[in-house]
Symmetry: D2
Subunit: 143 residues, 4 copies
Amino acid sequence: MSEALAQACAARMWDGDAASRSLGMALDAVAPGTARLSMTVTAAMLNGHGTCHGGFIFTLADSAFAFACNTDGMASVASHCTVSYLRPAGLGDRLVADATERHREGRSGIYDVRVTCGGATIAEFRGHSRTTGARLLDAPDAA
Amino acid sequence: MSEALAQACAARMWDGDAASRSLGMALDAVAPGTARLSMTVTAAMLNGHGTCHGGFIFTLADSAFAFACNTDGMASVASHCTVSYLRPAGLGDRLVADATERHREGRSGIYDVRVTCGGATIAEFRGHSRTTGARLLDAPDAA
Amino acid sequence: MSEALAQACAARMWDGDAASRSLGMALDAVAPGTARLSMTVTAAMLNGHGTCHGGFIFTLADSAFAFACNTDGMASVASHCTVSYLRPAGLGDRLVADATERHREGRSGIYDVRVTCGGATIAEFRGHSRTTGARLLDAPDAA
Amino acid sequence: MSEALAQACAARMWDGDAASRSLGMALDAVAPGTARLSMTVTAAMLNGHGTCHGGFIFTLADSAFAFACNTDGMASVASHCTVSYLRPAGLGDRLVADATERHREGRSGIYDVRVTCGGATIAEFRGHSRTTGARLLDAPDAA
């Protein structure tokens, strides 16, 4: 895997990723097997307890996971994810999600994502990926 | 637990839940320990693979879980959740999430949520809740 | 699926399952998509806190899961499992694990197992299975 | 946390841990927040597919998790665990489980355990712990 391929994959993913963009996410960094995305909690993300709905924290982590597991030119999708909420997030908080590769072999991968806010851990996420068999990038571009 | 209390809790939760409303969710049904919510996949929910971003499927399930575990007058929050993606969802799909109580004892609960589209299962979600010790509704209203 | 096939699969599995037998498990019931196994906590299963080591509770649940997901003639194996410990078990406790099918489609399955002791829930387990492509029973026997 | 306290906790845990010893586990190393245990797959650990029953792989990982989360003098127990089976283990394989601390704050902890055999990953485990409020060691010994 190379930095250039990871960047090309991320650019391709980002172009089509209306979901991450619609939530105001920023793609801060990407490299082979890793990605960092960030997002600010808006009023539209608050739940009935007045804190950020866990679904949006999960979605940020899930996006970081998706970018991290799609850095080698193959299309990978999430098959199973777990999230532990460790601390609530509030209006205006800037959340940062760092995804790292824990395991990758054959068509299966495991990625860990830590979501933080100003250094404090908000959530821990683990995602399991599977490659679909399709290429994310055409061979010439990927080379 | 009573139906009336469950309805009152859901109404209180829904009023403050900007997140679920901003995604166009509908609260279709609620009863002690159960809830059904539905949502249509919009263009803003599509990911880089052209299917519904898993985070939005998770968020729908998480909302159904939240309503189901907040039907007894006590405030409960999610501590840990897992989701398995079984089938992709596409633009315009109407997703339905049915949450049921699997376990509730002391301050801990486990709830299962199935997300379907026209009868086909899209995802299976399991949520673990903890009561915060606070009341969701004041005692007089809750009685 | 039929009851007879489920019974034949379980008999084949049980014959080879030194692990379940060595722990003193009993195969109490099996039917398409479900299985019940039980086991008594022995002194050799106690951990440093003086209660049953969670691994043995998990192993009982995992065996029930294995029997439940191998009732249709195809060989299935566990790919991912989760367990929540809800109550400790002690020396001499008779643990009962009931596995039921939550989802089965193509090569993937999800099974829920509840471990109880005298009616009280000890643990909740969820197992994800995948068929290997091999047959557990030869076609003539399976018919 | 200190190395000496971690060693003292592990010694106390090991003395009472009939379960880990009865399965032939060895406590190879322990330090604040980490532990390494190993175990050889015996004939009594084989399942109906002729490979090591996942429950024993889980139990080895669970023991490593237990030793890692009990290195600060407070008694901690497992509340929720997940395991992903990545490769089967066979008779005679020497399995090594390395547990490391991912998160620890207040009464909650998250620990990751990788189970390997000769460098190949057999399973990835994640355990969530909670301290019980009791001390594992008396204050004078722990100091």
